[in-house]
Point group: C2
Chain length 318, copies 2
């Protein structure tokens, strides 16, 4: 059994997962960010005790801990270079964690954890070369080569949300302009939806905005489904940036599958059809008949399941 913590700025997803990927218990607990590092580690300790108690699992059955963090991780050293949302940088997290919870621990970027999960038990099953992307507020990615996460120098591999896609694009949190994330994330859809409502381009979005006070990415997707022209254009533009970027990434790593998850992926066929259209437009001719882009299958559990895989593989090689 493995203890898994998928740490976010808002919530910690915690669970106990076995060596074949079955979740025995899971909890969603608000992150005590104000307590900072020591506070969060203390929280891990308490959650671990709670999970073990509630499942009646013998604590000796727990063989290791998997920790996913929203930031850049040096996996081999168990070191967090930077986790912006948590305000952490240069944290030797494995060493610190050992003071609180006494199991061998393995640390990974959260998008990479989700990628491992999809490879093990989700849409990437039985494939060793994958690109997994998470379309949420931002856009994250995980590159799997030969069955293992390719972490890259300083943990920077898979940062596909910060690929430059638009010359006069929006300012990104990362400091750059016109990143994929500013043009094709849920956040981008909401931004361009708000804009269409304000500019009078979409009466439907304007009425939603009047009722609810804002336009969400889900509003844009729903409006597009109802045939709202401005919303369709917004969705198609996001899909254009995604599809073209995925075609370009394909030229670099030629994964067996590209797996897309995250909140925005819930839009389903209307989004995937558009992404495929643009992916095909910018791909080699011979790829056109092939099915390469797949929706993720594990939803919010992908990260936790991937963490179990990380511990499983880590214990086998250590």
């Amino acid at each position: 059994m493995y203890l898994c913590f998928d740490l976010g700025g808002t919530n910690i997803k915690a669970g106990i997962i076995d060596e074949v990927g079955n979740i025995h218990i899971k909890k969603n607990i608000p992150t005590k960010v104000e307590g900072n590092l020591e506070g969060v580690l203390q929280q891990f300790k308490e959650i671990a005790e709670m999970l073990i108690q509630e499942t009646n699992i013998n604590s000796e059955q727990i063989r290791g801990i998997g920790l996913g963090v929203p930031g850049f991780v040096e996996m081999e050293e168990g070191f967090i270079t930077e986790a912006v949302n948590l305000g952490w940088h240069d944290v030797p997290i494995s060493k610190k964690l050992a003071e609180y919870v006494h199991y061998p621990s393995f640390v990974i970027n959260d998008a990479n954890a989700a990628a491992l999960g999809e490879m093990w038990r989700g849409a990437g099953q039985n494939h060793k070369d994958l690109l997994c992307i998470t379309l949420g507020t931002g856009i994250g990615g995980g590159v799997i080569v030969n069955g293992r996460i390719h972490n890259g120098t300083g943990g920077y591999a898979g940062e596909i949300g910060h690929i430059h896609v638009k010359q006069d694009g929006r300012q990104c949190n990362c400091g750059k302009i016109g990143c994929l994330e500013t043009e094709a994330s849920a956040n981008a859809l909401a931004y361009y939806g708000e804009k269409a409502a304000a500019d009078g381009e979409s009466a439907l979005l304007a009425s939603i905005r009047e009722k609810t006070g804002s336009v969400t990415s889900k509003d844009v997707v729903d409006a597009a489904r109802q045939g709202d022209a401005a919303s369709l254009r917004i969705l198609d533009t996001a899909a254009y940036y995604l599809g073209r970027t995925l075609a370009n990434i394909y030229m670099v790593i030629a994964p067996k599958r590209i797996v897309i998850g995250g909140g925005l992926a819930a839009a389903g066929d209307i989004l995937f059809d558009l992404i495929n259209k643009w992916f095909n437009a910018y791909s080699f001719e011979h790829l056109k008949g092939q099915h390469i882009i797949f929706p993720a299958e594990l939803g919010n559990d992908a990260g936790m399941i991937g963490l179990a895989k990380l511990v499983d593989a880590g214990l086998q090689t250590s």
Copy 2:
């Protein structure tokens, strides 16, 4: 000792290389393309006999053959999917080769061979994660992950020349429009140089064209070095597409080094400075102080040396 054949549409570079990468003999021999597959295989046999004879090496000292081909290769199967310039497709090359030369053989794409060479004995020495690109008539690439070539699905990894970079770009041989190769290769420089000469934008290029009948990429680089404004603009535009694309690829695989070789790389600092300028403009802030882009060191021998490494590694694991 390893027999290495770096097969091109025009020439075969052939040699005998030892297990530490020293070249004992090398030859450059025109490819008998008109003889097609069987003709080239027969040629390999004759070249092998000639090389062994000329070096007085005992044929039993030869432990294997490395073959680099300009095309898509399924490395594990020793299978060529397609080699456009040779007119070959779906060739079980390792099996065929065994009928002519009786050593275990290993096959690889030529740009990937050069990448292995640079990792082993060149600018990528002591690094396990690399992107190596070849700037020549076209643009090729090799992705090295954890010390091994990442070949990708169908051998399509590292095809960075066909990353889409320009919306209204030129028609590429691959069938797509606005590929990196059509905007930043030696061929692209020559094309835009010819154009500047014809359009009256550069008196210097026009006079070269009058004298020699054409404008080459070397003419454009030389003219840029002399301060010719149009040539500088052409070089800077190519560097913009290269630098931005390399920054984007960095987001995906975060290699330790990016190694650039090929005929156009001989332009040296004037080109590398411009590439670095644009790479930095599209990279994360923290990368700016780092030295990531390096010129290749092995010149035309990179491929052959990489082939020796391929055979060396292949024999060790088989």
